[in-house]
Point group: C2
Chain length 236, copies 2
DNA sequence: CGAGGTTTTGAGGCGAGTCAAGGCGTGTGG
DNA sequence: CCACACGCCTTGACTCGCCTCAAAACCTCG
């Protein structure tokens, strides 16, 4: 959602040949408040963007996957980024990116489009948090993950492997993303299961058994941006 | 919050000499799904960005004021924009804006910075909706409006007129922004009043009587972006 | 002055939170 | 290879905050 690109955007070539950095699960890449002199792109693994209040409340703002860009801020990072799974990122100085954006209008265009997608996704999350019930939020979340995979792996919209949804993050992470408590997330999973919409082979996977039902619960068309097949940046 | 600029950014000069359009209170400027061939800047009045679900639930994403830019999307508007008060906007074709961004790196830079601020604000809202209680959300909202005025009118941080907060929107609008029901918003106002943090001369104004108390409730430092005095775009 | 809309206040209900116990899966050491 | 321990997830009972429904107060404008 927030702070990501969908698939290979042309501006990502600034990361070619850039140094890699490996992160272990739970490791912090960026601390809120840090200087934003570096930007990153994810090569492998899942990361998590979050913000933590004075009193310890945490809101997860976004989960990030392969080819998602990290660095959408002017001067300082105002959010924290951590690895959910072991992960690899490539690092580039912000200056190199900015020079590239200045020189090449096409690259700049795809970058701006990426930013717009991020904005649209943040809007989806705002709608979820402000208007949807716990079960609805979870349904939307599962469809969101499904859709990420569709785009990342360049699959057909009805590819059977899309019915298995990977959940690399903990229930607590999901809870902090959806503005719920982990017990509520757990109960919501159970509800989706009891309603026959999903089955749960294990805690880190969900199988969609009734896609239409899930979509109905979620209010479907809410996947404007990641689904949008014809955006001007060559996404699937 | 979402979709705005703080004060006069250099890219706003693309609106110089552009045709004006007057809106009456409640009038719709942009319908979700509309072609985004035009972009706008607010000359006068308050507007509101929202998204409405299939079932009629509405989430207000942002309130917009003077010199706020409207048009942060690639090809189609995925949100609705309406006037809250009678308002005046200037209209420009997106092409003119994009040409300007391409030609002038400085203008492009200030535009990107504006987009980053919008993103940061949307993040603040996500944190509010996901983590804060109703009274806290209202406190943050009032401080947000106070801060807008500080920037828009170029006032000192402790200017006495900042203690009077204009509330041009209805309780329902506030409720849909904060993810609450209008009755809850009303009760939250009453609570802030009873706690001695504000007084309410009438329904469209609130006087801050205990700024520190309000900030404490809100969790203070949450106004990263609109307050940030030294961002690279000349804001107050 | 009256009508309509908006806001406030009240009473009661419900969904999500809290607190606590039990189950399950994984990994480690015997 | 099994046993145990630990962490995470699930489930249950109860609480609380926000919602719902309803009435009264208020404000605006003909």
């Amino acid at each position: 959602m927030l702070f990501d690109a969908s698939t290979r955007d042309t501006f990502l070539d600034v990361f070619e040949g850039a140094p890699e950095r490996k992160l272990s699960a739970g490791e912090t890449l960026i601390n809120a408040g840090a200087d934003a002199g570096q930007v990153f792109n994810i090569v492998k693994g899942t990361l998590m963007v979050s913000r933590i209040g004075n009193d310890g409340r945490r809101q997860v703002l976004s989960f990030l996957f392969r080819d998602n860009f990290i660095g959408l801020t002017a001067d300082r990072y105002f959010f924290t980024v951590q690895a959910v799974t072991p992960a690899t990122v490539v690092c580039q100085s912000r200056q190199v990116l900015e020079d590239r954006l200045e020189q090449d209008p096409v690259v700049e265009r795809t970058f701006l489009n990426m930013v717009y997608r991020v904005l649209e996704n943040s809007l989806d999350l705002i709608y979820s948090l402000g208007q949807r019930t716990s079960v609805e939020r979870l349904a939307v979340f599962l469809l969101y993950l499904r859709n990420r995979r569709l785009i990342a792996d360049q699959l057909a919209a009805d590819a059977p492997e899309l019915n298995t949804i990977d959940l690399p993050m903990s229930r607590q992470d999901i809870a902090d993303f959806l503005g719920l408590k982990k017990e509520t997330v757990s109960r919501s999973f159970t509800q989706l299961d009891e309603q026959g919409l999903i089955t749960r082979p294990d805690n880190y996977h969900a199988d969609v058994t009734d896609l239409e039902g899930l979509r109905k619960l979620a209010g479907i068309q809410d996947f404007a941006s990641p689904l949008r097949p014809s955006a001007a940046h060559g996404d699937a």
